[in-house]
Amino acid sequence: MQITGYRCMWVLTMFDLPTDTKPARRQYTQFRKVLLKDGFTMMQYSVYIRHCASRENANVHVQRIELNIPPDGEVRIILITDKQFERMRIFWGKRRKPPEQPPQQLELF
């Protein structure tokens, strides 16, 4: 059950970090850990996503990432609405797959 009318957002964090030296790999691991602890999941290597219930909430997470940017490499952050996200086309080899479902407000196990 979606909270219709409320603007759910996806935060996409994409990064390109060097992994040629040991310190560089440590930075990479630490940044990745920051993302995972903040509730991001890996969509592809170097592309992480997090679903947020509102734009305000999404901005909270964007600010957190910005506080933890590693010293080398490039990080890109973009916000995408649910509507835009569900239009993502995913190709797996030759087969198409649907994009991840946004989590529901109420989840039953």
Binding site: I3, Y6, L36, A53, S54, L106, F109
Partner: protein, 313 residues
Amino acid sequence: MWGNGMIKRTIEISQNPAHLSVRLDQLLIQPHDQPVVKQASIPCEDIGILIVDHQRNTYSHTALANLAEHGGVMVVCGRNHMPASILLPVADHTQVVWRVNDQIAISRPLQKQLWQQLVQAKIRGQAANLEHDENLQRKLKAIARNVRSGDAGNAEAHAARLYWQRWLGPEHPFKRDQNIKALPPNNLLNYGYAIMRATIARAIVAAGLMPMLGLHHSNRSNAFCLADDLIEPFRPMVDRRARHLFTTDQIELTQSTKAGLLQLLAEPVYLNDEKGPLMVSIQKMVSSLVRCYEGSSRSLDIPIMPHQRSEGG
């Protein structure tokens, strides 16, 4: 609409027994009877209320602690799916101002006025549930208008007696029963009220208030006096949803019926003429209560159901 930054997720576990643990601040739900690759992962900070209702569930210490540290409430259900305990986080001292002194210092007249407002809102909500009985609806609205400070005349009990008699319509005689073994639809009401109470208790603690210091309820062995006061305007909302489930044959507390009650937390309500989710309206009501304790206000912001708006509340 108001800022929705505070919408949290509701997680209910009753169908498949699972082990709950935490890794990197994510709550992991690993069903006992399924391979590890099938575990669900939910950010602890996104969880508002976690309801656990399966005998074979297991929990790691970190799961309980991490959820609490992020302000989440855990409701543990016992027999008959009835909430048996509510695990409330202790608000982080550095983040929240404790307002105990303000709570204790509240004047008796203000306490009575606030209780009057809560009772009025409750009775108006009950009236709004009686669309099938216009006479009684008018009567309840009149009772609401005449509630005195502190509800000295006990309008609440008077209205309740009339309301429960006709609430389900003339063909369904009804008697309210709070027992955990209560038959439908009382079981639905008890469950719905308990969830609402837990959600309100969470908002109370998050605002730095003590849930055991009530405005009207003041039983020394009740740790939730204030929650029991603030829940009153929300009871008719639970009633309405419970009635809908009961009359559409969802009378036992299956997961799907419980979901019907849990979804209430995200239902739209109106507060000061603006629409927003119910759980956020609870937070706003508690904020208005804080302003009353601080002395900058003498009235509570109390939400109403959408259809109450068109008929002038």
